[in-house]
């Protein structure tokens, strides 16, 4: 006998979580299963809606305005602008992100010193907005090779940021090894453990502030790499800010990204509160059904556990998350073997320029208006399967800066469609 639910969501990233939360809020009985760590640990934690048009125009101040002109196959066109707004409303409701007060994109400094347009940002990044004209001090740590504060500051200056920005490098107090992981920094700050610096013992936050204080001239805000705590980031920022007499913010970084992991935690918490059930760490390895999905099988400790649902959502990610796979011959969707349109010659999958127009970036399933994946003949693969997020084709999230927005919007839409069908 199979474990049953109204809706089974396969995939635990931004799209899967949003889908499951949206469906659960509709009253459906939802189960979410995910296999690997989600790609949120690679993501900056910023939530981009649309920063550039597919032609490269931008940065766009208003992401919604440009959505109507996107190509027809773009997922935003499939779900419609109103649904995108509703989906962002749900996101704002279940997280503590900022940016929801306006339709306008924000610009945030990147750890390399550029700025990027984004629609929602964690409160930890809020004081770092590049469109805010207060002077800025960036502080890097000597051993942290991902963020060189003087370099980032010089770059921000070259970008034309409307404020004075300086960068300084300090040693992180507490004698961390040169190769310490970002989570080690975060943990030390979370626990505010005592450290001894030049014979003086005091809590690490105080020691860090004492180290930075003499370097602050009259900057109103001070940015650190995104390592300011895992469990207690707001408290750490407030603590540091008070001791330094400035607003403190984090500059998002690459993997492993604490802001990405914090977002994942927040969404799992919201999923839990919504009453949905979930389990992680086991792959879906097989399905049964022809035209209609009957059940799937989860591989767990060598056994195959059947799970059946009325409706299914596929949210396994794109090439990065392995929701889309390939070999030398072809591109595939490995869970349900849905059709993935792609050029037959693999030398037509990429452009020769590193930031060229890469066809691979848009690999994914094509869907009908209800987000049901279509087979090669344009018919739904299954009448009760919908797809959301990175597994969808037809858009280049990296070039457009639209990844999180598409995941949230299509996850939301797929969740609502599934919930409506299941009841």
């Amino acid at each position: 006998m199979a474990i049953e639910s109204d809706i089974l969501v396969v995939g635990g990233g931004l799209a899967g979580l949003t889908s499951a939360i949206a469906a659960a809020h509709e009253g459906a009985d939802v189960r979410l299963v995910s296999y690997k760590q989600s790609t949120l640990r690679n993501a900056s934690g910023l939530v981009d809606l649309l920063g550039y048009t597919p032609d490269g125009d931008g940065p766009l101040p208003d992401p919604y305005e440009a959505m109507g002109d996107l190509p027809e196959e773009h997922p935003y066109r499939t779900v419609g602008v109103d649904t995108v707004r509703e989906a962002m409303g749900l996101f704002d409701e279940v997280t503590q992100y900022e940016g929801g007060h306006t339709d306008t994109n924000a610009l945030l400094p990147t750890h390399g010193g550029t700025v990027k347009p984004t629609a929602r940002y964690p409160s930890g990044a809020a004081a770092g907005l590049a469109s805010d004209d207060r002077d800025m001090l960036l502080v890097g740590f000597e051993s942290m090779t991902d963020f060189d504060a003087p370099h980032a500051a010089a770059h921000l200056d070259a970008v034309g940021a409307p404020f004075d920005v300086r960068g300084v490098t300090v040693q992180f107090p507490g004698g961390l090894r040169a190769d310490a992981k970002v989570t080690r920094y975060a943990k030390l700050l979370d626990t505010n453990r005592d450290v001894t610096v030049r014979g003086r013992t005091r809590p690490i936050r105080e020691a860090l502030a004492a180290r930075v204080n003499p370097l602050i001239e009259d900057e109103a805000r001070v940015g650190f790499p995104a390592v300011l705590g895992d469990d207690r980031p707001a408290e750490i920022r407030a603590d540091l800010g008070q001791q330094m007499g400035a607003d403190v913010f984090e500059v998002p970084m690459g993997p492993p990204s604490l802001p990405g992991l914090r977002l994942e935690d927040a969404l799992f918490e919201a999923l839990d509160e919504s009453g949905a059930s979930f389990e992680t760490g086991n792959p879906v390895v097989k399905y049964e059904g022809d035209g209609t999905l009957e059940r799937v099988f989860l591989e767990k400790n060598g056994a195959r556990i059947p799970l059946s649902a009325d409706q299914y959502v596929l949210a396994t990610g794109g090439l990065v998350g392995k929701g889309i796979d390939s070999d030398r011959e072809r591109v595939t969707e490995p869970v349900f073997d849905c059709h993935v349109p792609h050029p037959s010659d693999r030398y037509d999958w990429f452009d020769t320029d590193v930031f060229g127009d890469h066809p691979f970036a848009a690999f994914g399933v094509a869907t009908d208006e209800e987000l049901r994946p279509l087979d090669g003949g344009g018919e739904p693969e299954f009448d009760n399967l919908r797809a959301a997020g990175g597994v969808l084709g037809g858009y280049d999230y990296a070039a457009e800066k639209s990844g999180s927005g598409v995941s949230i919007a299509t996850g939301y839409a797929a969740g609502l469609h599934a919930a409506a069908e299941a009841q």
């Binding site: 409160s123 800010g241 008070q242």
Partner: protein
């Protein structure tokens, strides 16, 4: 004629660097000119095989004999560049027994230690060999890092007073009264570009003698003085695997053929190769079928390659040469021997000799021969010492173990650093500053990167070939920006940004031939990290000014938002 002849050596590959070192050690004034980075041409595009000579033991015994002699010398003088892996010539059931015996006998005739092993013995050495192979011959093949070797030769030449100019393209030969008297050079390094060496501008370099060691480009140099140097460039593909599927060089034991060798190299294995004549050493097709053939054919020897992850492919051109009267039609028939073309004897144009043909393993011997030739021109009697004096980094390689102790380098990262640096380890790693890892795939630390920057300036590709940073699985996805960060301070942000972009582009180039499966996934991640997280594809510093005022300025400018946050979300996730 000056009392100390000044020799201009053209070409910064293994041959040019080897000649420059040899001549400098003999007390001559040397200027080495290279159009790109050291190893820019053929040398940087080889599979890293240190030949035992076994490969040529049937077809080209003169080359085979030279190989085994030089193989022994390089183990001594370049120990920090060489890994003695041994090699196997593997016979499959469909390969001829007659050829197997010829190979064995050829090795014996050329003085190459060779021993037959059974299928079971071969598979005990290399468990991933196909189950149905017949048997194999063991020979002393090895792996050599061509980048490290050439850099060490150039560094040594410099220590003996040579001037080394990279990114300096020869634009003309200076000919006066029917004699080559120097070269005209364009230096492409300079402010706002890569910064190192002589910066910018055109320079006329007068020399008492010119040595043309530009390999596949030798014909181009010849053209500048109306000389006909018929180098026959022949391309070959090499495909890099993400791990070492084998720890021994694996050769297919058959007469000749494409895709017949696997070389374990540092953390990777390199599959090779093809041999196909091309017109232009810089512009030739790089095709999908060549990569597929490497994987499909070599899977006959090592079946797991069929499913393994490749990280990139690259092509090199061999500067093959044969005397005009031979007329081979197939490039695999052309000898791997080298030739000195004295243009005075050959073309009535004194002042220059070209060296063509040859192979990487015998670069030192070629350097010796041409240096003898040059010294003879000037009536100098100076002995060649390059076979006896170790290269910088290999002076006392046994000290490696001591360094491991001294620096507490027990970790794989430290171990690899010391292996790369050899006897230079103390000088480079002896820092009292934190020394974090910059490239995790290859275990390259800040101290090594800074050392490379001090040698090569802002050119991150030159840093790459010195350290191996960005050459692992992620192909720079996680470390290009970290390398760029290491430049800042010594160089201003524009130079840094351009070096960064150039490295990203270079790393992308070879990956294009490996874009399926895991490496396509990696490429998508790299693209995402650079475009999404960093917005490198739309860097406003390179584009139109941004209207900052048109964007969200935030809810609250007045400060204190941190304090209200605590009340709202103190300690909560998702903030």
């Amino acid at each position: 004629m000056a009392s100390t002849p000044h020799i201009a050596v053209l070409g910064g590959g293994s041959t040019g660097a080897g000649i420059a070192r040899d001549l400098a050690m003999r007390g001559l004034d040397v200027t080495l000119l290279e159009q790109g980075n050291l190893t820019h041409g053929t040398t940087g595009r080889m599979h890293g095989l240190l030949h035992s000579g076994g490969r040529y033991a049937v077809s080209d015994q003169a080359s085979a004999t030279e190989c085994i002699e030089e193989n022994r010398i390089l183990r001594d003088i370049a120990s920090h560049c060489v890994e003695m892996t041994d090699g196997l010539f593997v016979k499959r059931p469909e390969d001829s027994e007659e050829y197997f015996q010829e190979k064995l006998q050829g090795c014996e005739e050329c003085g190459i230690p060779a021993e037959v092993v059974s299928r079971e013995e071969a598979r005990a050495m290399e468990p991933h060999l196909a189950k149905d192979i017949d048997k194999a011959i063991i020979v002393p093949d090895g792996a050599v890092d061509p980048f490290r070797l050439v850099v060490a030769n150039a560094a040594s030449a410099q220590e003996y007073g040579a001037r080394i100019e990279t990114h300096s393209k020869v634009t003309d030969l200076l000919v006066e009264s029917g004699e080559v008297v120097g070269v005209e050079v364009e230096h492409t390094s300079g402010p706002g570009k890569r910064v190192h060496g002589t910066q910018g501008g055109t320079e006329e370099i007068y020399a008492d003698y010119v040595v043309n060691a530009t390999g596949a480009w030798a014909g181009r140099i010849g053209d500048m003085a109306g000389l006909d140097i018929e180098v026959r460039p022949s391309k070959g593909v090499m495909t890099i695997m993400n791990v070492r599927q084998v720890d021994t060089v694996i050769n297919r034991c058959k007469p000749k053929g494409d895709a017949d060798i696997i070389v374990p190299h540092e953390t990777t294995a390199i599959l090779g190769t093809t041999d196909e004549e091309v017109e232009d050493p810089e512009d030739y097709p790089e095709e999908q079928w060549e990569v597929d053939m490497m994987i499909d054919t070599l899977s006959e020897l090592v079946p797991m390659l069929e499913e393994a992850r490749t990280i990139r492919s690259f092509w090199g051109v061999r500067p093959l040469y044969e005397p005009p009267d031979v007329g081979s039609t197939d490039p695999t028939d052309i000898t791997r021997d080298f030739f000195l073309l004295d243009h005075e004897d050959r073309d009535d144009l004194p002042g220059m000799t070209s060296i063509v043909g040859g192979k990487f393993t015998t670069y030192r011997m070629m350097g010796e021969k041409i240096s003898d030739h040059v010294c003879e021109k000037f009536g100098l009697e100076r002995d060649c010492r390059t076979a006896a004096v170790p290269l910088p980094g290999s002076e006392d390689f046994t000290v490696m173990r001591d360094y491991m102790e001294e620096f507490g380098l027990r970790s794989p990262i430290g171990r690899r650093s010391v292996e790369r640096l050899g006897s230079r380890a103390e000088e480079v790693l002896g820092t009292d500053r934190p020394n974090p890892t910059v490239c995790s795939c290859e275990g390259v630390t800040r101290a090594e990167v800074q050392d490379a920057i001090s040698q090569s300036g802002s050119d991150l590709n030159a840093v790459r070939i010195r350290t191996r940073a960005t050459m692992g699985n992620c192909q720079g996805g996680f470390c290009c920006h970290r390398l760029a960060n290491e430049l800042h301070g010594d160089f201003d942000q524009r130079v840094v940004r351009e070096a960064w972009d150039e490295l990203l582009q270079e790393r992308w180039k070879g990956q294009r031939h490996a874009l399926w499966g895991d490496q396509l996934s990696q490429a998508a991640l790299n693209y995402s990290l650079h475009a999404t997280t960093q917005n490198r594809d739309h860097d406003p510093a390179d584009g139109d000014p941004v209207d900052f005022a048109a964007f969200d300025g935030g809810l609250d400018h007045t400060g204190g938002s941190a304090a209200t946050d605590v009340a709202a979300d103190g300690g909560r996730h998702g903030d």
